[in-house]
């Protein structure tokens, strides 16, 4: 009953209820699960924009400028309600975290059409937290039109944001590495838009040239475009749908986030991508993909927990000891544990 009220309050725009619900969801409590179940039917409307890139490239400042723009758009456009989810890393040693993304977002203070929430990764390694998807769902149900999701400072393999967002902006800055960095697998492959921030710094030409070169090589075939480095994991049905999709070649946009240079162009690129998704069915495809990712994660977690709870007491620890003593191999350990339960 209380939970239903919480969900209702979130729908009604109660900011305290929203903040509490986000905590419940983040802590994976019974209240959080219950609120999510009531809210889920109201999700699927918000435009989810992922922002990723290395530490210090200016992601938070860009988010600040994007949010400002959406709140105060050009003539003839309505301001959008903007939520920001900013993720920073949890210390693997202490479990603590410093969440410092708000420092760059002070321009957004005092605007009731903006809601900023900082999250720690709490052990997840993919650049966002395991509960970020659920947090985003709550904000979606709370009627935010656009949700900007900022990942941790990401290097090469933090690509989970591409499963969550409708569009992924990869932020680069001059002077971060030579052109071999641009042809490695990973983060560049998930870019729907490449942002070269700090474009007032020397070296911006080189950075843009290296990125452009890598894009030309990375997108020779239509079916590679929308896969975002996940070619091997999608099912046959999705393959067919995706192969029909016309090519979206990620544009490169130069910005200077501290003074807002290039922000209208970046917003245009985001809008163009949105139109592309709508026209090609990519929006629905990404929805399916995201929900599949979420269901798979929940299933895996549930099955592992369920399996562990059915193991005889001490069996897991004993098996681990056997491995440690090199008496059995990891595969033999696996067989042994599975046999105990089945």
């Amino acid at each position: 009953m209380v939970d239903l009220d919480l969900a209702q309050a979130v729908r009604a725009g109660d900011r305290l209820a929203l903040a509490r619900t986000l905590s419940h969801v983040e802590n994976n409590t019974a209240e959080g699960r219950s609120a999510l179940s009531s809210l889920f039917a109201h999700t699927g409307h918000a435009h989810l924009v992922g922002i990723t890139g290395a530490s210090g490239t200016g992601k938070s400042s860009l988010v600040n400028q994007l949010a400002r723009y959406y709140r105060h758009p050009g003539e003839g456009e309505l301001p959008l309600r903007v939520a920001v989810v900013a993720v920073d890393p949890t210390s693997p040693f202490t479990g603590g975290a410093i969440l410092g993304d708000r420092i760059r977002m002070r321009d957004l203070a005092g605007d009731p059409g903006v809601f900023i929430r900082s999250m720690a990764t709490r052990g997840s390694l993919g650049g966002i937290a395991s509960t970020t998807a659920a947090v985003v769902q709550v904000l979606d149900a709370a009627k935010f039109d656009i949700i900007l999701i900022e990942t941790v400072g990401a290097g090469q393999s933090e690509v989970e944001i591409a499963h969550l967002a409708h569009i992924t902006l990869v932020v680069e800055a001059p002077g971060l590495g030579d052109d071999i960095q641009a042809i490695k697998a990973g983060i560049l492959e998930i870019a729907d838009v490449l942002v070269v921030n700090k474009a007032d710094l020397p070296g911006v030409e080189n950075t843009e040239r290296a990125l452009r070169g890598s894009l030309d090589l990375a997108h020779p075939l239509p079916q590679r475009i929308m896969h975002h480095g996940q070619l091997e994991t999608v099912s046959g049905q999705d393959d067919t749908a995706e192969a029909l999709e016309p090519i979206w070649v990620p544009p490169i946009v130069r910005t200077v986030a501290i003074d807002g240079t290039g922000i209208p162009e970046l917003v245009d690129a985001i809008s163009a991508h949105r139109l592309h998704l709508d026209a090609t069915g990519g929006w629905v495809m990404r929805e399916r993909w995201r929900l599949k990712t979420e269901l798979d994660a929940l299933l895996t977690n549930e099955l592992v927990e369920g399996f562990r709870s059915r193991l005889p007491a001490g069996a897991y620890e004993d098996t681990l000891e056997d491995m440690l003593g090199r008496r059995i191999s990891p595969f033999q350990a696996l067989e042994k544990l599975v046999k105990m339960v089945t």
């Binding site: 903040a19 986000l22 994976n28 603590g96 410093i98 969440l99 420092i103 002070r106 977690n301």
Partner: protein, 135 residues
């Protein structure tokens, strides 16, 4: 797999620009396993209360070296209450003259940690205050 983390907002209200102390405290709380939202310099009480609400924090730490604590602290407490967050624990760092200490504690501030306070002291007191309130 439910996990309860203590979330703390560290903010510097007012106009002084010395945030070294605030950063040291933020770091110590992080090392104690808390999630610390650091907002940076020159925050108004309104900005602090709004951030505390959005982040659903358990505690707010204010670092004030400007001498304006008797104006800023009551305002933050008032706004937290107005937002329905009277359960949020407020503590102070910085420079607070001895005669103001009992007044601020009387208003509901849980601790005032001036220069030289050991990190163990405030870490333990903040944790205790939050956990007691949560039960």
């Amino acid at each position: 797999m439910s996990e309860r983390k203590i979330r703390v907002l560290i903010a510097k209200p007012g106009l002084d620009g010395h945030d070294r102390g605030a950063k040291v405290v933020a770091r110590a709380l992080r090392d104690a396993g808390m999630e610390v939202i650091y907002t940076g310099l020159r925050q108004t009480p309104e900005m602090i209360a709004e951030a505390a609400l959005q982040e659903d924090v358990d505690a707010v730490g204010l670092s004030i070296l400007s001498g304006a604590h008797m104006a800023l602290v009551p305002r933050v407490l008032e706004l937290l209450k107005a937002n329905g967050q009277e359960h949020v624990k407020v503590f102070l760092g910085g420079i607070v003259p001895d005669e103001d200490v009992p007044v601020l504690l009387g208003l509901g501030v849980i601790g005032i940690y001036g220069p030289g306070t050991l990190s163990n002291t405030y870490v333990n007191e903040i944790r205790k205050a939050v956990i007691t309130a949560g039960t």
